[in-house]
C-alpha cells in the first residue's frame, strides 16, 4: 500500500493535508490520532468510498481512483459502526455479502458456516442481528469483511465503544487474521490498541502525519510506559518513592507520588528497568499490593510528539482498564 500526498477538503476544513503512508504486505499499520485527525477520511478514500482531491494511492497494486472495482474485490472494511443488516440473521448477512462478491452459492454457504464457527457465532447464526450484543455485532462485522478472503483489511476504530472484555475478544480475532497473512490498516485512538495489534505506527493530527515508525521506536520517543507501584502499607509510600528515585534509572522524568491513590509513578523505558524497579523494592523489604504498567495515553503521546495536547482529548478509559502486570 502506497499513499502519496493525499488531500481531502470538506469545505474549508482540510481533513487530509498531504498524507504519505507505506504499508508492507502482511504487516499491520496502526494509524493513531484523535477524533477529527482524518483517520476515517483516509480509510474511506483507501476503500474507494470517497474520492481524494489530490494525491495518489495504490493498494494491492490497484489505483484507488482508477481501478476501484478491481480494488474492491481484494479489500475488506470494518467501520467504526458495525455495518451489518440488523433485520437479517448473522448467517443471512454473510450469505448476502458472499453472493455480492461473486462466490457460488455452495462456496458462500461453506464460507458463512466456517466464519460463524471461527467467530463463535454459530449459536446466534439464525437470530436477527438486532438481538446481538455489541461484541457479537463487531465480530460479525469482522467475519463479513473476511468472506472474500481479502488481501487488505481496513479496521476503522474496531473497538471504539466496546467494554474491555469484548475489546480483548476483537483483538484476538484481529491477531488471528493477521496470522493468516492479511495486510491490515488499523485506525485507533488508543496507544494500547496500536501496541497490541500494530507493528508500525503512523501518528496523525489535523490531516497531517506527525510521526511514524516502529512501535518500540515511537514508544521510546514518547517515554515508554509508566509503572504504578502501590505499597501494601500506605506508610511505606514516601520511603518507596525515595528508594526508586535513588535508583536513578530514568533520565526522562522523575518519580512522582500519587498520594490520593497511594501509589508511586515511575517512567520506565525497558523491561530491564521494570525488573530493576521490582528488585529495588524487594531489596528494601517493602511489600507491594499492586504493580500496574500504564501505557502513555493518546494525550501523552501527542504532548511529547507535538508539544500540544490532542485537539480533542479522547482517552477517557478508566485506569483499571489498563494492562495489569503480575507481581
Amino acid at each position: 500500500m502506497t499513499v502519496r500526498g493525499l488531500v481531502k477538503h470538506y469545505g474549508d476544513t482540510k481533513a487530509l493535508d498531504g498524507v504519505d503512508l507505506d504499508v508492507r504486505e502482511g504487516t499491520v499499520m496502526g494509524v493513531l490520532g484523535p477524533n477529527g485527525a482524518g483517520k476515517t477520511t483516509l480509510v474511506r478514500i483507501l476503500s474507494t468510498l470517497l474520492a481524494p482531491d489530490a494525491g495518489r494511492a495504490t493498494v494491492a497494486g490497484y489505483d484507488v481512483v482508477r481501478q476501484p472495482r478491481q480494488l474492491r474485490r481484494v479489500i475488506g472494511l470494518t467501520g467504526q459502526y458495525a455495518s451489518v443488516d440488523e433485520k437479517l440473521s448473522g448467517w443471512e448477512n454473510l450469505y448476502l455479502i458472499g453472493r455480492l462478491l461473486d462466490l457460488s452459492r455452495k462456496d458462500t454457504r461453506a464460507r458463512a458456516d466456517e466464519l460463524l464457527e471461527r467467530f463463535s457465532l454459530i449459536e446466534a447464526a439464525r437470530r436477527p442481528v438486532g438481538t446481538y450484543s455489541g461484541g457479537m455485532r463487531r465480530r460479525l462485522d469482522l467475519a463479513a469483511s473476511m468472506i472474500g478472503r481479502p488481501a487488505v483489511l481496513y479496521l476503522d476504530e474496531p473497538t471504539t465503544g466496546l467494554d474491555p472484555r469484548t475489546r480483548n475478544e476483537v483483538w484476538d480475532e484481529v491477531k488471528a487474521m493477521v496470522g493468516d497473512g492479511v495486510t491490515v490498516l488499523l485506525t485507533t485512538q488508543y496507544m494500547e490498541e496500536a501496541e497490541q495489534l500494530a507493528s508500525e505506527l503512523t501518528v496523525v493530527d489535523r490531516g497531517k502525519v506527525i510521526a511514524g515508525g516502529g512501535i518500540e521506536e515511537l514508544k521510546a520517543r514518547v517515554g515508554g510506559r509508566t509503572l504504578r507501584v502501590r505499597p501494601a502499607d500506605p506508610a511505606h509510600l514516601r520511603p518507596l518513592a525515595r528508594a526508586l528515585d535513588e535508583l536513578g534509572i530514568t533520565g526522562l522524568a522523575t518519580t512522582t507520588v500519587d498520594a490520593e491513590r497511594g501509589s508511586v509513578l515511575v517512567p520506565v523505558l525497558s523491561d530491564e528497568q521494570l525488573t530493576a524497579v521490582i528488585g529495588a523494592v524487594t531489596a528494601r523489604g517493602i511489600t507491594l499490593s499492586s504493580v500496574v504498567t500504564e501505557l502513555p495515553s493518546l494525550d501523552e503521546v501527542f504532548l511529547s510528539l507535538t508539544g500540544h495536547r490532542a485537539s480533542a482529548p479522547q482517552d477517557t478509559r478508566p485506569a483499571d482498564d489498563r494492562e495489569e502486570v503480575a507481581v
Binding site: E92, L96, L100
Partner: protein
C-alpha cells in the same frame, strides 16, 4: 472485452458483466424480501392503505360526490377505484426513500459500496422490491373494490392500468431514492414525500371530477401528471378515450426516469 466497452472514468478497471449485475440485484432483492419476513408489520401499509382509502372515499364521500355526478355511490365506486389504483405506485414510491436513508445511516451502505458491485444494483433491487409491494397492494385494492361493488368490465384494461401505474411509480421512485440519498434522516424523507405528494394527489382528478373546481385549480389539475394517470386508468378500466392521457403519463414517466435516475445514481456514487 474491448477497450470500447470501458467508460473513460473506469479506464483500466474491470467492467461488471450483465450476468453479475443480475446476480447482485437478485441477492439484494432477496435481502429486502427477508426484511419483510423478519418484520411483517412493514407490509401493513400495503394492506391497510388500499382498504382504508377505498372505504373512506366510497362510504364517506361516495354518496355526495356520486350524486353530484348524476348518480350515487355506485357510480362513484366506478369513478374512484381506477384513481386509487393509479395512486398505488406513488404511495409505494414514498417508502423507497425512507428505507434507503436508513441503510445509509446504519453503515450497511458503506459495506455495499466497498463491494465490487455495480452501484445501480442497490437502487434497482430497492425499486424491484417496492414494485412487488405495490402489486400486492393493488391485489388487496381490487379485492376490496369488488367487495364494495366495483364492476370489472375490462380485464385487459385493468391489467394495462396496473402496468402503467407501476411504470409511473418506478419513475417516481427515482425521485424518492434521490431524496433518500441526500436527506439527513428517514423522518425528513417521509415528511418531504408527504408534502410533495399530498397536494399532487388531492389536486388531481383521482378522487373527484375537476369540473366543479375553481379555474386556477383546474389549471393545476390539468397539468398534474396524476390527473393524466388517473384518467388513463379510468379509460382503460371502464372504456373511453385514453390516447392523450396515456401519452402524457408515459412522457412524464420517461422524463422523470431520464432526469432522476442519473441524478440518483450520481448522488449515490458520490455520497461521502
Amino acid at each position: 472485452m474491448s477497450a470500447a466497452t470501458l467508460t473513460p472514468t473506469a479506464a483500466g478497471d474491470a467492467p461488471i458483466p450483465l450476468r453479475a449485475h443480475l446476480r447482485h440485484t437478485g441477492a439484494l432483492v432477496r435481502r429486502n424480501l427477508l426484511w419483510i419476513r423478519q418484520d411483517p408489520e412493514s407490509m401493513f401499509d400495503a394492506v391497510l392503505f388500499p382498504v382504508i382509502f377505498t372505504l373512506l372515499f366510497v362510504y364517506v364521500f361516495g354518496g355526495s360526490i356520486g350524486a353530484s355526478m348524476g348518480g350515487g355511490q355506485d357510480q362513484y365506486v366506478q369513478y374512484v377505484v381506477p384513481g386509487l389504483m393509479a395512486m398505488m405506485g406513488m404511495n409505494m414510491a414514498q417508502g423507497v426513500g425512507t428505507g434507503f436513508n436508513t441503510d445509509f445511516n446504519s453503515g450497511v451502505m458503506d459495506r455495499f459500496r466497498s463491494l465490487p458491485i455495480g452501484r445501480g444494483s442497490v437502487l434497482v433491487a430497492k425499486i424491484a422490491v417496492e414494485l412487488m409491494r405495490m402489486l400486492f397492494a393493488t391485489v388487496v385494492l381490487m379485492i376490496v373494490a369488488v367487495l364494495v361493488g366495483f364492476d370489472i368490465t375490462h380485464w385487459t384494461g385493468m391489467l394495462a392500468s396496473i402496468g402503467l401505474s407501476a411504470v409511473f411509480g418506478s419513475a417516481l421512485m427515482w425521485v424518492f431514492l434521490t431524496l433518500g440519498v441526500v436527506m439527513k434522516s428517514a423522518q425528513s424523507v417521509q415528511a418531504m414525500g408527504f408534502l410533495v405528494l399530498m397536494p399532487l394527489q388531492f389536486g388531481s382528478s383521482i378522487f373527484a371530477p375537476t369540473a366543479s373546481m375553481p379555474g386556477w385549480l383546474q389549471n393545476f389539475t390539468d397539468y398534474n401528471p396524476l390527473s393524466a394517470l388517473a384518467d388513463t386508468a379510468r379509460g382503460l378500466m371502464l372504456g373511453g378515450p385514453v390516447a392523450h392521457d396515456l401519452w402524457v403519463t408515459l412522457a412524464w414517466s420517461v422524463a422523470l426516469t431520464a432526469v432522476m435516475a442519473p441524478v440518483a445514481i450520481h448522488k449515490f456514487r458520490t455520497k461521502n
